[in-house]
Assembly symmetry: C2
Homo-oligomer: 337 residues x 2
């Protein structure tokens, strides 16, 4: 067991602990000869520095946290991969936190920031409110946000343009000849929901199509919610030939309901989701969706956040909007089945 301490290395290499520490931290103030001697001792003893001691003394951990609401969903895991690779490149480690859609777990994980286990925390569309998020930043904790923006000077945010994205989806459906398009939103208080709804309405207005609030239902961003929301639409007698779900998970729920009710997609109902989740490509018919540059979003935010953690200079840019891309597949094309 590596229970060696820095003094043991120092002793073996016949130098002081300060010198060993310098070697360990790549200080230029060590002669090459001494450095070799120390490295050899480290090697021989299989010495590994104790992270807790190092963190305690240096007051930083070179570790980032990412908090996502469900690691089963590929939207999150792809973002995580982007973060991870960018972080590793900059010599940061990453702690992945799965809040499992529970706000309590989210809050619990935020303690990693408060107890200084991580230097900064990245939140990917959390359940927490803007106020709550801003409060952490007010207390001096470093936070980064993905898929959402919060109005606080110290919080870098990376997101896609939800309004534009929704507009493109709806334009596409209108282009396919649909005039009655239902919309499945996510959590009522999520910005994503709100902005996608806004884009939906704008597209309708652009096309001089009537806006019918009866065609809107909330599916909470998950499969079960999408399934239920779709059924509610049918039960209340809403009439529509296309449906735009604010994410793929809800669209999958719509698929399931359609299978049960023997509604053909896209023959009787065109479906479009958002996120380009893995399943959407394999499901039949292949689902039209919107690809978000998930990996790039993760990588970009990690870089910007690490910049800020080590920043002494001016604040720099804070909001980064990346482009998304409509992926038209079978589920929304009337001439394809």
């Amino acid at each position: 067991m590596t229970d060696n301490r820095i003094v043991d290395v120092a002793r073996r290499a016949s130098v002081s602990v300060a010198t060993v520490s310098r070697v360990l931290n790549d200080s230029p103030l060590v002669s090459p000869k001494t450095k070799t001697k120390v490295m050899q001792a480290i090697e021989e003893m299989k010495y590994t520095p104790n992270a807790s001691a190092k963190n305690l003394r240096s007051k930083k951990t070179m570790t980032l946290g990412v908090l996502v609401s469900d690691i089963l969903i590929s939207y999150y895991t792809e973002i995580i991969k982007g973060i991870e690779n960018a972080a590793n490149r900059l010599h940061y480690k990453l702690i992945i936190c799965d809040a499992q859609n529970e706000k309590d777990k989210e809050i619990a994980y935020m303690s990693l920031l408060m107890d200084r286990t991580v230097d900064a925390m990245i939140l990917v569309t959390p359940l927490m409110s803007d106020r709550e998020i801003a409060a952490y930043a007010d207390n001096g904790y470093q936070i980064g946000l993905i898929g959402r923006a919060v109005d606080h000077p110290d919080i870098p945010c990376v997101l896609t343009d939800n309004v534009k994205l929704a507009r493109e989806v709806v334009n596409h459906l209108i282009g396919q000849g649909h005039g009655e398009i239902a919309f499945l939103s996510g959590y009522a208080d999520a910005i994503d929901s709100y902005e996608r709804l806004e884009g939906y309405m704008k597209a309708l207005r652009d096309a001089r199509l009537p806006f019918d609030p009866g065609l809107i239902e909330n599916g909470n961003f998950n499969e079960t919610g999408g399934y239920a929301a779709f059924k509610r639409l049918l039960e209340k007698g809403a009439r529509f030939t296309a449906i735009f779900a604010a994410n793929d998970e809800m669209a999958i729920g719509v698929y399931r309901a359609c299978e049960e009710l023997e509604i053909r997609i896209p023959g009787q109902l065109a479906v479009v989701g958002v996120d380009n989740e893995r399943v959407s490509k394999y499901i039949t018919p292949k689902m039209s969706t919107v690809e978000q540059p998930k990996y790039a979003m993760g990588a970009l935010l990690a870089e910007k956040l690490i910049d800020r953690v080590n920043a002494s200079d001016e604040p720099a840019e804070r909001i980064f909007k990346l482009d998304s891309q409509l992926m038209i597949r079978a589920s929304s094309q009337s001439n394809v089945e």
Copy 2:
């Protein structure tokens, strides 16, 4: 910013740091009155203990690591959820590590164990060899293994019976009238591959069917590998009416190849995978597969490992075999399309 220390709390509550520490750690040696006083001070100052200092002093971190090869694959993420919940229940935190199928990253993450960032590390079917894994345990590091067994007295392992599982799959295919069944194995050196191959052969022998090594190909446990392996089988003119892929990922690759080549599943080819990945239920035709109790495996191992970390007594049981379950869906039933 919470830059308060335990002495600040002590001062405010007019007690000693020891007393504050006792309150913080739920020691029974504090009078209720003092406890209240201290808690109030903590509350007022919004004090949070510094994790590094605590870990350094107490020589434990109450943190587990899980190392998986790809968090995009639901097999891993479901295991992670099981671990996470069991760990949290026992007041342990979890660091998720995604090695991204790179052995170098695996090794890099093992340093979390060596630098004492985690008290123990759970490996889920890693690329590392048995020897390498055993070496860590020999050096006194706590390790747990999922989906694989290693012959070392200090390594608890949770796995399913691969031989039995493969046997059931092949029996099922034979029962459907198939006599020529191809087998797609994973990494040549993975125990899973070996054991599933063994079960495959046993089932053939039981049924007095000939074993043809020309029907075996390696697909490295991923989609691309499965796709390529299947094509190799065809190119070399192998004849078979059913294929058993050692995991769903490879089976998905087979699906893709079949789509391109217009081979009907299950009409012309029956397909069975292993793992019951999320996609297998959504793909058309629905894929027959083997459900492994992933969540339960994660939870069980986490419990057993934490037991060991805190153990002073006898070693207890070490290998835990859980039952898997064959899920017969459309892809392997000749009378269903």
